[in-house]
Symmetry: C2
Subunit: 236 residues, 2 copies
DNA sequence: CGCTATCTTGACTTTATTCAAGGCTTGTGG
DNA sequence: CCACAAGCCTTGAATAAAGTCAAGATAGCG
């Protein structure tokens, strides 16, 4: 099933925003649409880096396996995010689907050629990698210094922002925002460098404080975004 | 004092390795040699990103100021490292000299033009940024999960490797490696997300275990590099 | 020589982990 | 439709880790 990818899911937010239609069509011809179910890997740490991809829908995790054999999540990918290491060596990370996902996958060689031919695309990729680095550094601060509550609050805040959720169904003044977490408690624990129990306790505490609501399953409602952001910043 | 920078300190390890001499000279003409003393800032978080630079000697830190007003170090720069955000918006980080440093500084616009004219340079910069991202992620794992001992051991291990120190003065079989830390205990604490006291205790513990020696001041001698690496990996 | 910074060490407190048990969901088969 | 099993989530009590507060010890520096 090698259906071509009609627009690579990149038209709006991604690498190709600056390309004209002809170029876009050219790039689209190189990409292959692919789906993964929850739990499937796109890239494994020791693979030679043969592919690049754009995530179109769903969420994925970037993880390493620690010396102790634990799964350590070092990044999350949301729609529009780029996967791969053009012009570079091995990646040393696994990239695994957290939900069912849709991707536009390129052979690395094809993608590199496209980058070489389309200068602006390369610049965009550079910008984006720099932005990703900034995000990693922000996260570094969170993980290095923040309390358990701040980590959990920061994570919820980040997810909400990255998913670009907005609850416009009713024109009410309520600022509540609802969404489903792409991760289990265990995965959140891996991500935040905490234990499952601690994550659970902090979620409970945020609910007790009226900041969020947990209707059940993986659903989360943010009742007070300002308080959540404040909890994320609280370094004490 | 706007002396031109003769080779930008980049000939060996850096962006310009792939350029021929003519191109190198062209780039060098754009750069200005600059020195900062310990504690001086090159970039402030809220500055518009007007410059790019290559670090030639010394060490610098990349830091943010937390909501609580603390200084949170999110990265270190060693000779050969690149500073700046070509083609991108603001950086949101301070870049401050940890020791006296020498830099080759470019006006951002000049540097962007050079990147545009020298394709290979741009690819190298991309690669390097991707590598930096990987390093940030490795660090993320360390900060997220590691114990205090592992953080300190990992940091020493990283410094040793990044400084490329080798103790060849005498042909002895001893694998001991000696160097001076570029950071105070307080800065190490910021960097590792620990307190000064904890850093101090862990250093003492590593010394008690015969893994390192602390002759005084900021000097460190690594007595048993293997044990140090093991301590850094110990997630328990 | 004395002053100030920085670093080390100790006693106590706070925070998160560990271990252990119980509850809620979900899916399956009777 | 209900019972039951499996997985995930929550909660509690005990333990271990790092932080805080408070003295001293060293090292630079004038």
């Amino acid at each position: 099933m090698t259906r071509r990818c009609s627009d690579c899911g990149v038209r709006d937010r991604s690498l190709c925003g600056s390309l004209n239609d002809t170029e876009l069509v050219h790039l689209a011809r190189l990409g292959v649409q692919r789906r993964l179910v929850r739990g499937e890997s796109l890239v494994r740490a020791d693979d030679p880096p043969l592919i690049c991809a754009n995530l179109q829908s769903g969420a994925m995790k970037v993880s390493s396996v620690t010396a102790g054999g634990d799964d350590a999540i070092v990044g999350l990918l949301y729609p529009g995010d780029f996967i791969g290491r053009p012009f570079a060596g091995s990646d040393h990370h696994d990239v695994v689907a957290l939900t069912d996902v849709e991707l536009c996958v390129f052979q690395r060689a094809d993608f590199e050629r496209a980058l070489t031919e389309h200068r602006e695309m390369e610049q965009k990729l550079l910008q984006r990698t720099l932005a990703e680095l900034d995000r990693a550094r922000r996260w570094l601060m969170l993980l290095g210094r923040a309390t358990a509550t701040a980590r959990v609050a920061g994570f919820l805040d980040d997810v909400q922002r990255r998913l670009g959720v907005n609850d416009c169904q009713r024109g009410m003044a309520t600022e509540s925002v609802a969404f489903d977490l792409p991760l289990s408690r265990g995965e959140m624990a891996d991500l935040l460098g905490l234990t499952i129990e601690t994550v659970s306790r902090q979620m409970t505490r945020l609910r007790a404080g009226g900041i969020i609501d947990l209707p059940g399953g993986r659903a989360v409602v943010i009742r007070d975004a300002a308080a959540l952001a404040e909890a994320a910043d609280a370094f004490a």
